[in-house]
Amino acid sequence: MLTPGSEAELAELLRGANAPISVRGGGTRHRPSPGEALTTSGLTGITLYEPGALTLVARAGTPAAEVEAVLAAEGQRLPFEPMDHRPLLGTEGTPTIGGAVAMNVSGPRRVQAGACRDSLIGVRFVDGRGEVLKNGGRVMKNVTGYDLVKLMAGSRGTLGVMTEVSFKVLPAASSEATIELSGLDTAAAVKAMSAALGSPFDVSGAAHDPQAGRTLIRVEGLEGSVAYRADRLADLLGRFGDTRRLAGDASRDPWRRIRDAEAVAGAGDIWRISTRPSAAAALAAQAEAEATLFDWGGGLIWLRVPSGTDLKARLGAFDGHATAVRGDGAVAPRTDPVAALEAGLRAKFDPRGLFRPATETA
């Protein structure tokens, strides 16, 4: 395992490389691409944290848990609630903050606070030419030049190896509550979640677990405000069925499990579908999955299907996309003009083809 201890060492290593390299942080989220393994876990440390400016900068290999602990000590947090993939994928190791960025990992709070890419305000990385590059910085409003920060978020190590990432962070909520609805079918659950997300009550999570028959709606913030909004949501959602109020740990625990997609953990292929909530119920029915979880108000569907299932064939064309998180999914290479742009960018940033993508998106 290649473990460069500094950005300069990494740059030198990549300049001299002549065979494919498989980039990872802690290797917990990863479907490894082909090549010799290289980890950023030697590049660690929080290099800047200014609570008053809501800004944190960390080296890419810093454990995500360390970042979250440092923020928590000041009553702040990463807005995008990054998932821990280990319970779902049965992987071992330490999830890194760079890994979360490389996969654009965004949890239930995506619906309110945005994705990882929305909180990311700066990157440093070494491209396939071995050149050290930076984009963005440490300020939260920045339109100077092209936004390569967004391009790097979710690029899965195919354009370069990230060495440092900067975030806009947010105050952590002092209070939260969850409204639970039981026994809804998927179509009704999505309607209930849309009603909640379309209300002025600033919902920060909307998920449906068909196995457990639970639909959950979360609000966070100051104590009085949370109590008020939970009341109003309970009124609003009453027409879908009986509601129950969860507070404290009873509110927190289910969201950690939703964040980590535990409901679909198990043997088989794991897929992630991003779509319009209004299409979610029909798509999930077509998938005939062994286990299903709806997050983001139905905009994100987690599925577990038997290994080797041709899910794309089952789903047909739809508004959105499906990604195999574990399993091959037997996907034909894309040939559309967008795929050509992506291939063009990879060729520019990695002309020698060091960072070949694992084929996983359909």
Binding site: G137, S194, G198, G224, E342, K348
Partner: protein
């Protein structure tokens, strides 16, 4: 400011070009009369003007594609234009270019409250997007101050912000998908009515690329349910440092206001003379706005006022009604107009780390003395997005140049303290030659490689963002 040398061969092609454009567009969509072309000679950076070869106003994505294909084949540069409100010269033509305006692409294509999206053609104005959904209790969050006039196309090109982005983010955080035409005429769809990108985040790099990667004709935008209410509190302090410390303490306290606006003494006096909003005559003034139900507003304002009191405010005035809110916002909203009444001015928008606020304000007042030009500061303090207004006299020879020189020094100072040249207006032509203060050669090269992929011939808005000497080889 320099613009690229005009290619005489291109000018000679004008007759052929007009004929070719008329082949693919209805007659009324091609403008080539010199008097009519004057309407397109500049945007809101009015100090610089240059009529284009021609202007086209297509009515569909297919017509946009036909125009680009034609210009691509003839090697004619194209400058896309939304409503022409860019303060950075993003839509400034060159004499050998065609202006492609999206003003006739104004349809609303879809509104879906279950999926919380609106899909529009991009010539539609920012405010009219909210207008389409407002009656049903929804809004589109990015609110640049030109929102009455500016087009979504321009918002996407510049990644526009606004006063409320501390809570809701800027354009890129509210844009879910685009239909876009590449310079060779290829139509592509990026993203859609769902919340993350497939493959590389091309949507993220297109947003803010200043019309240099493609012409966006349709956009899928995230809409939000309107909060139940909103109310500001106004606070005055006798030093910028204290006001800055108060901003940091509010942010640290865990309340996230939707807006924290800052005005300094020169701007307070200028707006007070004009608008009479009843602001205290003090060194620094903050307007902090929160949203929610009545009870929630009370809870948040109580927390904020408690923090403010610890900083000995000279004034602390909470709005208790819609009229009082309007009065508190009146001065802030008329700040630019009021400044325009007393002088010509240049508005910068460098962003700085919030903690550097006092140092930068001191630096700006030193520069003001050095150059003998007045400066007022009115800006979004929550996110460090400065708006120094440098006042000058456009009729006095040399004053504009002096003002530009001073502006450059202020922006360099923003970069020096860890910030950037522009937080929401864009680079355009205005800040193009300062790019090498923020980026190394390889950093700019990496950005230009993106354009190489989207527009290999460098025909789309080619003279923007990067210093001309840096792009010379690619443009030739």
């Amino acid at each position: 400011m320099e613009m690229p040398k005009v290619d005489p061969f291109t000018l000679a092609k004008k007759t052929d070009l007009i004929a070719s454009l008329q082949d693919v567009l209805p007659d009324d969509a091609v403008i080539h009369d010199e008097a009519e072309l004057r309407a397109y000679e500049c945007d809101a950076l009015t100090a610089y003007r240059c009529p284009p070869l021609a202007a086209v106003l297509p009515r569909s994505t297919e017509e946009v594609s036909a125009v680009l294909k034609t210009c691509h084949e003839m090697d004619i540069p194209v400058v896309p234009r939304g409503s022409g409100t860019s303060l950075a010269g993003g839509a400034l033509p060159t004499a050998d270019s065609v202006i492609l305006g999206v003003a006739r692409l104004t349809d609303v294509l879809e509104v879906d409250y279950d999926d919380r999206i609106i899909r529009v053609q991009t010539g539609r104005t920012n405010l009219s997007v909210t207008g389409e959904v407002e009656a049903d209790g929804w809004f589109y969050a990015p609110d640049p101050s030109s929102q009455l006039a500016c087009a979504i196309a321009g918002n996407i090109a510049m990644n526009s912000g606004g006063a409320h982005c501390l809570k809701y983010g800027v354009t890129t955080n509210n844009l879910l998908g685009v239909r876009m035409v590449l310079m060779d005429g290829t139509i592509v769809d990026l993203g859609g009515g769902y919340m993350d990108a497939e493959g590389l985040d091309l949507l993220g790099v297109v947003c803010g690329s200043e019309g240099m990667l493609g012409v966006v004709t349709e956009a899928t935008l995230r809409i939000l349910p309107k909060p139940e209410g909103a109310r500001p509190v106004l606070m005055g302090f006798d030093s910028n440092e204290v006001a800055g410390a108060c901003v940091a303490d509010i942010i640290k306290a865990g309340v996230l206001p939707v807006a924290i606006e800052f005005m300094d003494r020169p701007i307070i006096r200028i707006t007070e003379d004009f608008a009479g909003a009843g602001y205290p005559d003090c060194e620094a003034l903050l307007i902090v706005e929160v949203e929610g139900s009545e009870a929630e507003i009370e809870e948040q304002l109580a927390t904020i006022e408690e923090i403010a009191r610890r900083h000995d405010p000279v004034e602390l005035r909470r709005s208790n009604s819609a009229e009082e809110s309007q009065r508190i916002w009146l001065g802030r909203k008329s700040a630019f107009g009021a400044t325009g009444r007393v002088a010509d001015y240049m508005c910068l928008d460098g962003t700085i780390p919030v903690s550097e606020l006092p140092r930068v304000l001191t630096g700006i007042s030193r520069l003001s003395e050095k150059y003998g030009l007045r400066v007022g500061n009115v800006f979004h303090a929550g996110d460090g997005n400065m708006h120094p207004l440098i006042m000058f006299d456009a009729n006095k020879p040399g004053d504009l140049e002096l003002c530009e020189e001073m502006g450059a020094e202020i922006l360099k100072l923003c970069v020096e303290v860890g910030g950037c040249l522009t937080g929401e207006h864009g680079v355009g032509v205005e800040k193009r030659d300062l790019m090498d203060h923020q980026f190394t050669g390889p950093d700019m090269e990496a950005q230009m490689r993106v354009k190489d992929v989207f527009d290999p011939k460098w025909l789309l808005n080619p003279a923007k963002v990067f210093p001309l000497d840096v792009t010379a080889d690619r443009r030739s």
